[in-house]
Each structure stands twice: as C-alpha cells, then as structure tokens.
C-alpha cells in the first residue's frame, strides 16, 4: 500500500466538514426560502455596505495600532539578555491563554460609566468620560485582545536575523536609521505580514468585542451575521451571503499581503 494514502482520512474529513459547508454557504447565499435562485440576498448585503466598511476601517485601525505598538516591543524584547527573553515572551503570551471573553469583559469593567478609570479621573477633577459603547472602546478591545498575536511573529523573525548581516551593514558605514530601514525592516517583513494577518482577519470578523464594548449601535459584520443565524431575525440565506462576502474580502486582503511578501523576495 502506497504510503501517501495516509492522507486519505484527512482529505475525506476536510471534504465533508470544511468544503461541503462552504459549498452550502455558497448555495444558501444564492437561494431564498423556497429554494429558488435569487440575487436578492446580495442586494440586501449591499444595503449593509456601511457596516462592512466600518468593520474594515476599525479592523484596519486596530491592526495599525497593534503594529505601531507591537513592533518596537518585539525589538526591545529581542535586545534584552537572552536568558530573560524566554520569560519576557512568556509574559506576553500569558494573557492570550485567558479566554478572550474574559479579557474583553475586563475592559467592560474598566470603561464603564462608574468603572475604575472614570472614578480615578473624577478624583483628579476630570468629569466622567463616555468610554464604553463607543468605536474607540471597540478598537481598544481589539488591540488588547490581538496585540500578542502581532508581537510574537515579529519577535520570532527578529531573533533569527543573522547578526552578521547587521554588522556587515554597520561596517559598510550605515548609521542606525539606515540599518533599521534598509536591513532590519525588510528582513522582518514575513513576521510583520504574519502578524498583520493574525490581527486583521479576526478583528474585522469579530462579533463579541463589538457587542460587549460597542453596545448595540456599533455593529460590525460579525454581529450582523450572528443575528441572521442565531439572533431574532433568522435568515440563513442573507447570513450566508454576508458570510460569503466576508470570506471573499478576507481572501483578497490576505492574497494581496502574500503578493507583497513574494514580490519583496
């Protein structure tokens, strides 16, 4: 028996439980309740284009913030003495292992009207700020949940850079800025792309963070889809159309990012 048939159980499983469901989504998005073909679902999705755009914008902002905060952090961790790096990384990873519902809930407590942050501000004489149920709160929740996913890939690539390359650049007279912009940054691009992918995709498609921190008025795509399947308005056809659009948009974004990486190499 040829050994590559060991793959067969895997293919069968993936076909049944991953491929068929996606085909079903495709099927449902093009049909209506009676089973007739229709494009009505997609037209309705078009009416929600504002929500789609909002999700992409908020996801994008969160990803950018994670990158701007996480990249320097990764660099700093890579520079501390090697024996401390393991612990430093462990400490960054630890929150990831706490259920993200609880992490989001933690920020709910802090951002509430009479939450700790507002009470602290009142002591200083500053009036209570409206922090929860805003888009800012949603972005904050996203950054908080996904920051480690940005730091880790960048760090793991940074650590593997051959130090001699940096030394060679310095020997050739490059100042610190040039070394960073023209050596380190391009070399860490795969890590950056990995981190961006791991933050952007969940950020755009989340529904918990927006529900818990954004209130009812800051709905994202995820909330909409959830409502169609388990919420009050049960419409799996519309929900499938939305899910399909989301999947296509994400595949395009990831495809673009992969192209960027290949072009650079």
């Amino acid at each position: 028996m040829k050994s590559k048939f060991a793959v067969v159980p895997y293919f069968v499983w993936v076909a049944v439980f991953a491929m068929v469901p996606l085909v079903l989504v495709l099927f449902f998005s093009f049909t209506e309740k009676t089973g007739a073909f229709t494009l009505e679902n997609f037209i309705e999705v078009g009416r929600y284009s504002g929500v789609f755009a909002n999700s992409i914008v908020l996801g994008g902002i969160s990803t950018l913030v994670c990158l701007l905060v996480g990249y320097p952090m990764a660099m700093m961790v890579a520079r501390i003495p090697a024996r401390l790096q393991g612990t430093a990384i462990l400490l960054i990873m630890l929150p990831m292992w706490v259920n993200f519902l609880l992490r989001t809930y933690a920020w709910m407590t802090l951002l509430e009207h009479n939450g700790l942050i507002n009470r602290f501000l009142q002591v200083l004489g500053v009036g209570p700020l409206d922090m929860i149920n805003t888009q800012g709160a949603v972005v904050l929740g996203m950054v908080y949940n996904f920051l480690p996913y940005m730091i880790l890939p960048i760090y793991s690539v940074l650590v593997k850079i051959d130090k001699r390359l940096i030394e060679a650049a310095q020997d050739l007279g490059a100042g610190r800025r040039a070394v960073f912009l023209r050596m380190t940054l391009p070399l860490t691009l795969p890590g950056v792309i990995s981190g961006v992918t791991m933050v952007f995709v969940p950020a755009v498609s989340t529904f918990i963070i927006s529900k818990m921190l954004g209130g009812g008025s800051n709905m994202l795509i995820g909330d909409l889809i959830e409502m169609q399947f388990l919420g009050s308005s049960y419409n799996p056809h519309l929900g499938s159309a939305m899910a399909l659009m989301l999947m296509i948009i994400m595949l395009i974004c990831v495809g673009i990012m992969n192209q960027l990486e290949e072009r650079k190499v």
Binding site: P9, L24, M76, V98, I208, F229, P236, V254
Partner: protein
C-alpha cells in the same frame, strides 16, 4: 537615556496587558456584588463558583470535547502529515494550501458553514442533533491543520530512508510507521496534540454556532457576561489564569532543566 525609554515602554506595554486582569482578580475577592467598588475581602464568589453546577457541567463538557477532538485530530493529522511528506512537490503544495484554508478563514464563517451542514443533516437524519457530537466534529475540523503543521516539520527533519529501511528489515508498513517513524516525530505529535487541546478548550465562536443547548465553558462564560453582573465571573477568570500560569511555568521550567533554553512557542 535610551535604556530608560526602553524600560518605560516595555513596562507600559506589560501594564496594559495585565492591568485589566489584575483588576478582575482584585474584585474577585470583593465582599459585595460590585465589580468596581471595593467593600472588603471575601471568598464568597469562589464558594459560589464551586457550587455552580452549570459551570462545573460546562467545564466537564469542555474537557471531554477537547480531549476527544485532540485525539481524533492528532491521529488523522499525523497520518495526513506522513502522507503529505511522501508526496511529490506539486501535490504537496496543493495539500498545504488546502490545509491553510481553515486557518485563514474567519472563524465566524467556519462556524456558520458547519452549522448549515448540521442543520441540513438533521433534516435528512433527524437523529443528528446539535450537541456534544457536533461540537467534537467541528472542533476536530479546526484542529486538524494545526496538527499537520506541528508534525510535518519533524517529518521533514527526519531521515527519509528510515521508513524504507524498516520495511527492508521485514516490518510491514503499519508497524514500520510505529517503530521507525513515530518515535522520531513524537515531539511534533505531542505539540500538535497540546495545541489542538488548547484551541478546543478556548474556542467560543465556532462552538457558539454548533452547540445547541449544550454548554461549554466559553459559552457558559458568555451567558454569564450577558446577564449576571456578579463577581463570580471574576473568580472564574482568576482561577483560569492561575491554572494557565502554573501550567506554562511548569513547561518552561521543564525545558530549562533539560538544558534547552528555547521555548516551544517560537
């Protein structure tokens, strides 16, 4: 000067990461029902937590599902990795792209698509219902790619002729795999198993869509955050955090003892 900036920045990031968890932990010991206003020290929420049968039941479900899904996905995934490692380059790349699809797909899309599958299956076979079974099936599906990714590198690092050598020495293929290959790739299999278990334990979005009336721990947590405003949630999260911390410290100290100072995480 630069060192101070570095240290301050790192400190700020760590504070950002841990402050909410610290607040959560602090108020888990609150004697009153408030999450914000401190009234005094008390363990009542922990007592209430251990008496909460819904949570305990959910915890049990979560462990059963995670163990089962991890076991099944490890078997299928290791077998798949083995097959993939013996493929020619072209088919291997195709298999790997197929493998990475579930990982790139937003979780909510995976969740609703699998839900549709089970809804349809229920129509044809009314015996099939949302519950532990559908949860295990769904969890196994999203764990598979990670098992393959954990085992495949080990297979590629291994001497490719071990399998043939074992067969030349008279072992039938199945036994050749178990005696010659499995010991070599075992760390990868364990990593895959642990990853699958962890992913399953913590999964919320996909479980949410296929659980029906069954409760897993994340789903129970979600209902708690939706209705009850009690520090019992704080107690639960503090306990979970302590368990995870203990577990990770254990793994890291074990690896430091074995002389490797590299973490398995990167």
């Amino acid at each position: 000067m630069q060192k101070t900036i570095t240290r301050a920045y790192m400190a700020l990031v760590y504070i950002f990461l841990y402050a909410p968890l610290a607040v959560l932990a602090l108020f888990s010991f609150n004697s009153a029902k408030s999450r914000n206003v401190w009234h005094g020290f008390s363990l009542r929420w922990y007592r209430q937590l251990f008496a909460d049968t819904e949570i305990l039941h959910a915890l049990l479900n979560t462990f059963i599902i995670a163990a089962t899904a991890a076991a099944i996905s490890s078997i299928i995934g290791t077998s798949a990795a083995f097959g993939i490692s013996r493929m020619k380059k072209k088919s291997r790349r195709l298999a790997m792209s197929l493998n990475s699809l579930p990982m790139v797909n937003p979780e909510i899309v995976t969740g609703v698509s699998v839900m549709l599958l089970f809804v349809l299956a229920h129509k044809f076979l009314p015996a099939i219902n949302f519950g532990m079974g559908t949860l295990v099936l769904a969890h196994t599906t999203f764990c598979l790619p990670y098992v393959v990714l954990s085992v495949l590198p080990k297979l590629q690092q291994m001497n490719p002729y071990l399998y043939e050598a074992a067969q030349d020495l008279g072992l039938p293929p199945f036994f050749a795999f178990f005696k010659a290959i499995l010991p070599e790739i075992f760390p990868g299999v364990v990593t895959g198993l642990v990853m699958a278990f962890t992913l399953s334990l913590d999964d919320f979005i996909i479980s949410y869509f296929v659980s029906g009336s069954t409760n897993t721990l994340p789903i129970a947590i979600y209902s708690m955050t939706r209705r009850v405003v009690s520090p019992e949630i704080n107690a639960l999260s503090t306990l979970l955090f302590a368990v995870v911390l203990g577990f990770l410290l254990l793994i890291n100290s074990r690896q430091a003892k074995e002389g490797q100072n590299k973490s398995i995480f990167y």
